[in-house]
Amino acid sequence: MNNIDPECAPQRADDDEANIPMTGEEKIAWVYGITVIVTSGAYFLYIATQLASHPVDEIAWVVPLIITVVASIVGTIIGTIVASIGGAVWQGVRGRFEEPDFTKDERDLAIKLLGDRRNFAIVSVGLFGALGLAMLDVDTFWIGNWIFLAGTVGAILESATKVRAYRRGV
């Protein structure tokens, strides 16, 4: 096994690291972050425009919020599939096809825990804030949207943390 041609060995081990495709887990982190920014951004834009022209108790926010959450989940699933197909096509165009790798290993788990921890910190602060709003007997519009805002910020931070860890290290 150690009897190798010294001229061949460096070439075989010289993997092209710059062009290696993302793992499935990293793709999901990217797609999740982008999807949450788009869907929640649209929701909060809608809420902002409604607030400018309607009293709070006349704003329909429950159904749009549920639609936003569902859109985020469905969008992440579809986006990941599209990104995987797009990535494979791009690799094929460049003549370097590698099958999408959806293996989950200990590094993915470490990165997931890091992202979850950041998300949990933001959501915890948000929940304490919501508790305070409830104690002050504020309208449920503000409590619900405050919780959703905390969840959105937490999700974006989680995604950014994961992408950064995949790119720069854990």
């Binding site: 460096p10 290696i20 590094r107 993915d108 290290g169």
Partner: protein, 76 residues
């Protein structure tokens, strides 16, 4: 932003696998991890668990301390 975040564990995986004619994909397949994880370990962007470190040393047929070095040891 700065460069990649380094760990305090350095390694000779690249040298050793070159000597043994192994690619990153070969090691990744044998350990059941992604090739990106092997790249991250090689580049010092991820410190593997003790179990994976032993598995990598096993694949490379080298003692653990020949594959991995803790940089904190330099201070001694």
């Amino acid at each position: 932003m700065g460069g990649p975040k380094p760990t305090r564990v350095s390694n000779r995986i690249r040298d050793l696998r070159t000597e043994r004619d192994l690619t990153q994909a070969d090691i990744a397949n044998r350990l059941g991890v992604t090739r990106q994880t092997i790249i991250a370990i090689e580049q010092g962007r991820y410190s593997p668990s003790l179990e994976m470190a032993f598995q990598i040393a096993g694949v490379l047929e080298a003692p653990l301390d020949e594959v991995f070095t803790y940089k904190g040891d330099d201070a001694k």
